[in-house]
Symmetry: C2
Subunit: 347 residues, 2 copies
């Protein structure tokens, strides 16, 4: 198994280390050989070679069977809107050059952590939904600029039928494997791109007669998602709506430190925790590594088709939660373990 | 006081009736004379004259000191993407032609209803925030269309510095009247329009040195808004982000049936409940009229500068909640009153 390892910035390297330990342990148990190849991204890459997604890193990713990614971003850039080169550009360039068109973000609750959620237990018990966010189109990649001496700015959101169809088919297929419910989230009462989304999904319905499809406006979903998350199974949506709604949904579980994600391309796929680089915690060995470890589980399952290996990781993660082998964000009165201790225990 | 009355569709007419009763009672008590002038909007206007915001309605609004609005929308149009004339178009046309550039949406909790929220009491106690959503620009009003035989769709988001500044100044002024905290919500790490927003707000900071300004990304706010709504005071944002975030925020209070809003223009202002036309309840005399009644309170305060009148309305609304004179959505085991009974009691 050839895996590109992009640790990135902030807590990225620390949480990635634990996912490597756990993956190696799984590989040993199930007789696989993992070939890790590290490469630079984000602020770390800007410092080293002047840009956030260098060509050498892209080569490493192209030659791998999967990419395991930490996080990128550094506060030094956030407070400087004039910075010409920014870590986030690397992220967008990586998504585009690797063709990572579908960002898969599950939201579920852990029975032992359910009371950490800001939402009431009875609202979220049993929640198990997954967003498919389109990741290489829309307003993220359209034409943008200034006119009128910099006093007018514009961004363009563009979608083609083929882009929508590719993402929607993944959604239909995923719904088939789950509760057979698909929700298309758009703003078709205002946007032309949304009308194209809705039309395209409607045309696909006949190919998946066993899947029940609903269409909801993004503002209504932003509400219902926290009122009754249980109502949803698979949700498909465009890039910017997905950015907002998946972060909103991550609150349900009670800890961002637990939620993994996958970004699927035609050839390569990438796996990463949904939390960011969390610079305040960097280097302190206190960050929660579970989202990254669970991203490795998604990698075994999705990129390599190795289900038992993925299940082994999930089982040991649940065990660590049940036995209280957790980092300080989940310790709540109990003993707070270090990032590296949790990784060792899991491995 | 000359007030244009646009009841609209669904439960609009019923809830508007109660706001009229209450406003008339307040007018009598405080010695004002109200001159109501009704006009058609929405599906009702489409049925009567073929379009959702007729010129005669616009005339009525222009000649009034304020507009009190119910709701528009009808399911008959939602399931027909090919409908050429739609109620929502009337809403957008009205906002644009009346120049309603700032949508003011408060979110607060009612002590007696706090346990109806899907969020835990300790997260939301004391929440009192207000969104200022830009309402006549952005992707709602930019160029849109199809290319490539209908297989490519696009929408354009445009903002000028003047549009941002106008909205932002309202935000700064509102923050001054409240806790002096302003949060600018954008996606400046990706969008050029967001960078213009951030730049413009930064340039205004020096004019309001007593206001503490923060800048947050829309995805982060979508999360933090449900995690710690107490952290916010005044939030300013562009049209589409505002659409999503204000609906999300409305969940905090536990009932959409309670939240009022104001849309401010240079000359005319409009006041409306944030709930929609709720067609399932139309004609049944069961809808909660409080959001509309509280919108009338905002009208007295904001459009007419009549504070005591606004306070009188809010006081009697709180009394109705405390004494359980409420519609079925809030009755919870107690007696459910009719829409019209609640209105009579308040008046
Ligand atoms: C960092 C930013 C550009 C990125 C996005 O908006 O896609 C992030 O929020 C995410 O969701 O991965
Ligand atoms: C009906 C729709 C066009 C409208 C909007 O998106 O502005 C509504 O959601 C609102 O928030 O008033």
């Amino acid at each position: 198994l050839k895996i590109a390892l992009l640790a990135g910035d902030g807590i990225g390297p620390e949480v990635i280390d634990q996912a490597v330990k756990v993956s190696n342990a799984v590989a040993e148990k199930f007789n696989h050989e993992i070939n890790w190849e590290s490469a630079l991204t984000g602020a770390a890459a800007i410092d080293a070679v002047g840009e956030p997604y260098p060509d050498e890193t892209h080569e490493v990713c192209l030659n791998a069977d999967a990419v395991l990614f930490g996080a990128i971003g550094h506060p030094r850039f956030d407070n400087d809107p004039s910075a010409k080169v920014r870590p986030e550009q690397g992220l967008l360039k990586m998504r585009q050059k690797l063709g990572l068109f579908a960002n898969v973000r599950p939201t579920f609750t852990f029975p032992s952590l359910i009371d950490k959620s800001p939402l009431k237990r009875e609202r979220i018990e049993g929640t198990d939904l997954v967003f498919l966010r389109e990741l290489t189109g829309g307003i993220y990649f359209g034409k943008r600029g200034r006119e009128d001496d910099g006093n007018t700015a514009f961004d363009t959101c563009t979608y083609t039928r083929a882009e929508v169809e590719r993402l929607a088919r993944k959604g239909f297929e995923m719904a088939r494997q789950r509760s057979k419910k698909l929700c298309c989230v758009d703003k078709a009462n205002v946007l032309e791109t949304s009308r194209l989304w809705r039309e395209t999904v409607q045309n696909l319905e006949k190919d998946y007669p066993d899947v029940e499809v609903s269409y909801e406006f993004v503002d209504a979903v932003a509400m219902r998602l926290i009122q009754w998350p249980n109502a949803y199974d698979v949700l498909i949506t465009e890039n910017l709506f997905g950015d907002v709604l998946t972060d909103e949904a991550s609150v349900i579980s009670g800890s961002m430190g637990l939620m993994p994600s996958a970004s699927l391309g035609e050839k390569t796929s990438l796996f990463e925790p949904i939390h960011g680089s969390y610079p305040q915690a960097a280097g302190k060995d206190i960050a929660n590594p579970l989202a990254t470890v669970l991203s490795a589980a998604m990698m075994f399952e999705t990129a390599f088709g190795l289900q038992a290996e993925a299940d082994a990781i999930r089982t040991v993660v649940n065990k660590s939660l049940a036995e209280g082998v957790v980092t300080e964000d989940l310790a709540e009165g109990g003993k707070a373990h270090k990032t590296s201790q949790v990784g060792d225990w899991l491995a």
